[in-house]
């Protein structure tokens, strides 16, 4: 590991004030410390923000404000999260292991990096790690990489489960930074790779996530489901956060679908959502909506399986949610 200096910030404002080029903020460290050990992350200054007083889950005028330093475990078992946002509790609980959830923070979960094997191997080219060096995944092992929204420069996926649920819940990410405070509505935090895959998010240097705020839950039933290679402690091949509200006449009154494991960002299936509104809440309509969303997919040779897997997951999940 390359030498760095370590300091603990006294407040969010103090962290932003002390930020300078070469600085990285440290949360629970479950991804960053590993990336430093691999030589992928090479901070000169490590500024610890994990003990800032941003660790409360509070109700503010019918909304739920979750501090950036709240540990994943504490978010998932919070009574209000379990009662009002079960999809979010479920998404967090399906991520990582008990130990890692105890350490990992909410902001760190959002800002974790892709697990693409080429990104994590400094002996290989990678446009995300070393812009302009190339993307060996396109010709190589991309079996768990993107089928939607990728570019010729990068086919990485975002690994978070929590972010997928937050995208469906239209959570707001609260940020402070050298340019002042701002609010980023999900799924707007993460970006598609385009020709700048080194940028995972729309954050600017020095920006610090301070909280995630959840609006009141949308009407309807919700589910988070995840398909993976083993029953626990594995990243998603495909995952879904879905909300379905069916009117008395059996038609879809409201619908939200966010997909994980398919793109560089949580993927809001807006096309499918639009198509479903007003249609009967039946398997046929769900299948048509899933297929129209996935028409945009551009699978690579070794990850084409994800398209029918995503289609079936959308249809099965909506069928389970329909009354």
């Amino acid at each position: 590991m390359r030498p760095f200096d370590y300091a603990r910030a006294a407040s969010a404002a103090d962290a932003v004030r002390r930020y300078r080029p070469g600085t990285m903020y440290l949360g629970g460290g479950t991804n960053l410390v590993d990336l430093m050990r691999l030589g992928v992350a090479r901070p000169e200054h490590l500024l610890d923000v994990s003990r800032l007083p941003l660790d409360a889950v509070e109700e503010v005028r019918g909304r739920l404000r979750v501090g950036a330093a709240v540990r994943n475990t504490d978010l998932a078992v919070h009574p209000l999260v379990r009662a009002r946002y079960p999809m979010l509790a479920r998404a967090v609980l399906t991520g990582a292991s008990g130990q890692i959830r105890n350490m990992a923070t909410v902001a760190g979960n959002l800002l974790q990096r892709t697990r693409c094997a080429y990104f994590q191997d400094v002996s290989r080219p990678c446009n995300k790690r070393r812009p302009g060096s190339g993307c060996p995944a396109i010709e190589g092992d991309h079996s768990n990489l993107a089928v939607l929204g990728h570019s010729g420069a990068c086919v990485a996926t975002h690994p978070s489960d929590m972010a997928v649920a937050l995208a469906a819940l239209e959570a707001e990410v609260h940020v402070t930074g050298p340019g002042g405070d701002r609010i980023i509505p999900m799924p707007g935090l993460h970006r598609l790779p385009g020709d700048a895959p080194e940028r995972d998010t729309v954050l600017e240097p020095g920006d610090l996530v301070t909280a995630v705020e959840l609006p009141p839950p949308p009407p309807g039933a919700s589910l988070y489901r995840k398909v993976r290679e083993r029953a626990s402690f594995a990243f998603a091949l495909v995952s879904i956060a879905a909300v379905l509200d069916v009117a008395a006449d059996g038609t879809v009154a409201g619908c939200r679908i966010a997909l994980g494991g398919l793109a560089h960002a949580p993927w809001r299936a807006e096309r499918a959502e639009r198509e479903l509104i007003g249609r009967p809440a039946t398997g046929g309509a769900f299948l048509a909506a899933a297929e129209s969303e996935l028409e945009q997919a551009r699978p690579l040779p070794r990850n084409a399986y994800k398209v029918p897997m995503a289609r079936d997951l959308i249809v099965n999940t909506l069928e389970e949610l329909a009354p």
Binding site: M1, P3, F4, D5, Y6, R8, L26, G28, G29, T30, V33, D34, R37, L46, D48, S50, T73, A76, V77, R82, A83, P86, A89, R90, L93, T94, A96, S97, G98, Q99, I100, N102, M103, A231, S232, F233
Partner: protein, 162 residues
């Protein structure tokens, strides 16, 4: 950098390189070699310790970031000559073969038994479910055992959970 750390009830003041992990500090500076380095990437759980009573992967924790905290390792689980109930149950149920994963399994199980609320396999998220073998398997998924002693590990933990 100077840090203060309480390990198994004993306070220490240590000068550490910011790059040092909590695992390396425990093993190399304090001679507590119970915690094991399986992967050094957070994937196997052999390095699991309790930090402020909560289980954590000590390979992913920087020692400098633990300043002022209290850590319990497998060496601190027993009460003098009296084994921790989990240690006794692991012996009783023959819950290990080579023993490499065992310190991590023990610390992880000790932390897990104190973690309330649902897991990913709990049907109703509002429940505080009973720790069935199914629940224990899910909650212990961060601890791998290359010898495959899982069946006996689950029965040992089940006995203590009852």
């Amino acid at each position: 950098m100077d840090i203060r750390l309480t390990v198994n009830g004993r306070p220490h003041t240590l000068d550490v390189d910011p790059r040092m992990s909590l695992l390396d500090l425990l093993r190399e500076r304090l001679g507590l070699i119970g915690s094991k380095k399986g992967c050094d990437h957070g994937q196997c759980g052999a390095c699991t310790v309790l930090v402020e009573g909560r289980r954590a992967n000590s390979c992913l924790a920087l020692a400098v970031a633990m300043d002022g905290l209290s850590v319990t390792t497998v060496e601190g689980l027993a009460d003098g000559e009296h084994l921790h109930p989990l240690q006794a149950a692991f012996i009783e149920h023959d819950a290990f073969q080579c023993g490499y994963c065992t310190p991590g399994q023990l610390c992880s199980a000790a932390g897990m038994l104190g973690e309330p609320g649902p897991s990913a396999v709990t049907e109703n998220l509002l429940d505080d479910p009973e720790l069935t073998p199914h629940e224990i398997r899910e909650r212990m998924s961060g601890n791998l055992c290359r010898c495959g002693a899982y069946v006996n590990i689950v029965s040992a933990i089940s006995e203590v959970a009852r």
